[in-house]
Amino acid sequence: MPGYGHILIVDDEVVIRSLLSEMLSEDGFSVATAEDGKRGLDYVNNGQVDLVISDVHMPVMDGPELVARLHQIDPNLPVIILNSIPEGDPSKGMAGRAITCLGKPFDLQKLRDAIVQVGVVKSPAGPSGG
């Protein structure tokens, strides 16, 4: 879907990947998914991504490492972190970068607000009926 925001979802949890794909597609974004940080990084290296939504704890490459690598590729690439552990700040040491943190479980509306805040353009059609 050229012209609209392209969002990469990185999470080892199938349910999170399917939920976010479902929701963001309905909202009019084009969506791609990756099971871990390594695959997510490969995807970003091979194409244009407007936003990355990433888990923290993942096999192979975790969220913080992915964020650091992404920063090297494009310091302005916005990232939304989804953290399932209430304690601790996964954005620690990533100051100055375009990072937003949301704790799991999260309100869909808060995620939408965060996406709007980082300025990702979505489909003019808005949330579609299906």
């Binding site: 349910v15 999170i16 399917s18 479902e22 096999p59 552990i85 304690e87 799991k104 869909l108 509306q109």
Partner: protein, 571 residues
């Protein structure tokens, strides 16, 4: 005042004072004895000398007066008496006629001589003098008498005037008194023509003795003072190192082990000082060793405390990790449930007016199915957690058959195994001996290993669970057909939280918990893995009645027992 005296009496007397006192008493006694002896012998000598002189003077007078008495020359006799009176101590001198009557006399009173205190007014002894008795007497005691005249001691000497052969030879006068005495004894046959009598006062002798006594006493006093001074100096000098030793011992007692006593003397005190210095050095080194030992002990204690704190911190970290694991476990399905339910709500609100078409129904159904699945997952997690909590709190050991526990565990995991399409093959030894353990803990151990294996084999894999007994142990092997564990991390898989990256798979409690549980039950756990050929976890426990408590064995021949016998012996 009284208190002052009593405190003085009770006051400590130093060794120096004691030594000085002892030497002083000794010196005083010695000097006193010497003075007494010296006084006595001097007095005796003076007295003897006086006696000798008195006797000699009297006999000389008697000898010289022979011719004058014979011819009745009183003037000559008076001259002789005046000669005798020239002697200071002579207080009177008499010439007696043959009848014992005074012929001529001289005395100090009649001469008005001053310097003679208390002289008698009538110095001449009254009464008749028995001249014959004097002549016949051979002893000195008879020729002089000590008489008291008006309270004064006066020695009275008498000698007979004898007309004998020797009187013709005046040269004999020069003979000494002893020779004369011999002659006098030999001249007893001669005729007594008169007597000579001389009184000698003891006043001068006593004065002389007194003067002598005083000079002796002053010399003695000077000697004592000198001796005491020398003694005090000597004692002080002798005991000075002891004072230094006392000061040094006080310092050592106070903890100053650097104090040394410098005594450059080649005697017992020098030896004592050297010994003291050596002892102090030994003490110092001993104390240093002690201090070092104490430091070491303190360090060890500190280390132990630090270790305990670390263990505690580790436990807290474990709790934190557990909470984090649980949160991760729960929050992911919760996020699914929450997200899908919000999606459903949004969609249904959107379709409130138009209604849901039959085409849209599968999508709604998939949302709700997802919610149901995630709810089940949450339930399972909570159940596992509770089971773990129960297993952790269980303390009492009981006899357990591992086959039974394994069957329960596998049936408990049936659902998950089915979802993962994993096949479990069991090869249980019949009549497996019982072990001492907990159902809950064993279930936890087996669950963890089987879930680990399930994750390793992936879809359509196989897990083989084998039980057997050998060498008094029950052995459980759980083998999977997964990818295997790389050798470099095989040693780390039992370390706590080594697998944190994969948290969220299984219970999230890790193999370290399994390891701890096996240890709790006095068992062993080992892993054998080859990359590409799968992994085998081997857990073994001592057979009930073997190992730790030999007393439990019925006959001490457990080695020959069959597994089923052993099981029976456990009841």
């Amino acid at each position: 005042m009284v208190r002052g005296i009593s405190s003085f009496l009770k006051a400590r007397i130093g060794i120096q004072q004691k030594a000085v006192m002892a030497i002083s008493v000794l010196l005083l006694t010695l000097v006193a004895a010497l003075v007494a002896i010296s006084m006595n012998s001097n007095s005796h000598a003076v007295r003897t000398e006086l006696m000798k002189r008195g006797r000699m003077s009297t006999e000389n007078l008697a000898y010289n007066a022979v011719y004058a008495t014979l011819v009745g020359d009183t003037a000559a006799l008076a001259g002789f008496l005046d000669g005798v009176m020239a002697e200071q101590e002579v207080v009177y001198a008499l010439i007696l006629d043959p009848k014992g009557q005074v012929l001529v006399s001289r005395d100090r009173a009649s001469r008005n001589d001053s310097g003679y205190s208390g002289l008698p007014k009538a110095p001449v002894p009254a009464g008749h003098v028995d001249l014959a008795a004097m002549r016949d007497s051979g002893s000195c005691a008879d020729c002089h008498n000590k008489t008291e005249i008006q309270g004064r001691s006066i020695l009275d000497f008498r000698a007979p005037i004898v007309l004998g052969e020797e009187t013709r030879d005046k040269g004999a006068v020069e003979l000494d008194i002893y020779a004369m005495q011999g002659r006098r004894a030999a001249s007893h046959s001669g005729r007594v023509i008169g007597g000579a009598q001389i009184g000698i006062t003891l006043q001068f002798m006593e004065a002389q003795i007194s003067a002598m006594r005083w000079s002796l006493l002053s010399v003695a006093l000077a000697l004592i003072v000198l001796a005491l001074t020398v003694t005090v100096i000597a004692v002080r000098r002798a005991l000075k190192p002891i004072d230094a030793l006392v000061v040094a011992t006080g310092k050592v007692a106070g903890g100053d082990y650097d104090s040394k006593v410098c005594v450059d003397r080649d005697d017992e005190v020098g030896d004592l000082a050297a010994s003291f210095n050596k002892m102090t050095a030994d003490l110092a080194s001993g104390r240093t060793a002690l201090v070092e030992k104490r430091l070491l002990e303190a360090l060890v204690t500190e280390l132990k405390e630090t270790q305990q704190q670390l263990v505690q911190a580790g436990k807290m970290a474990a709790v934190g990790q557990l909470a984090a694991g649980v949160a991760h476990e729960i929050n992911n399905p919760l996020a699914g449930i929450m997200g899908y339910s919000q999606l459903v709500v949004e969609k249904m609100q959107h379709k409130r007016d138009s209604g849901i078409t039959p085409e849209e129904l599968p999508k709604f159904l998939s949302y709700v199915e997802n919610m149901e699945r995630q709810s089940q997952r949450c339930k399972q997690i909570v159940q596992n957690l509770l089971k773990f909590a129960r297993a952790s709190s269980q303390e009492e050991l009981q006899e357990v058959n591992c086959n039974v526990v394994l069957r329960e565990t596998i049936s408990f995991l049936d659902h998950q195994l089915e979802v993962s399409q994993v096949t479990v093959v069991t090869r249980f030894e019949s009549g497996l001996p019982a072990i001492l353990g907990h159902d809950g803990k064993l279930q936890q151990i087996f669950t963890n290993i089987i879930i680990n294996a399930m994750q390793a084999v992936g879809k359509a894999g196989t897990i083989t669970v084998t039980t057997r007994s050998a060498e008094e142990r029950v052995i459980i092997e759980i083998q999977d057909t997964g990818e295997g564990i790389p050798p470099e991390i095989q040693g780390k898989i039992f370390e706590p939280f080594f697998t944190t990256k994969e948290i969220g798979q299984g219970t999230g409690l890790g193999l370290s918990v399994t390891y701890g549980l096996v240890q709790d039950l006095h068992g062993d756990i080992a892993v054998h893995s080859e990359v590409g050929h799968g992994t085998t976890f081997t857990v073994s426990f001592p057979v009930c009645g073997s190992g730790q408590s030999d007393a439990d064995r019925p006959d001490g021949t457990v080695a020959s027992m069959t597994p089923s016998d052993a099981a029976e012996s456990c009841g």
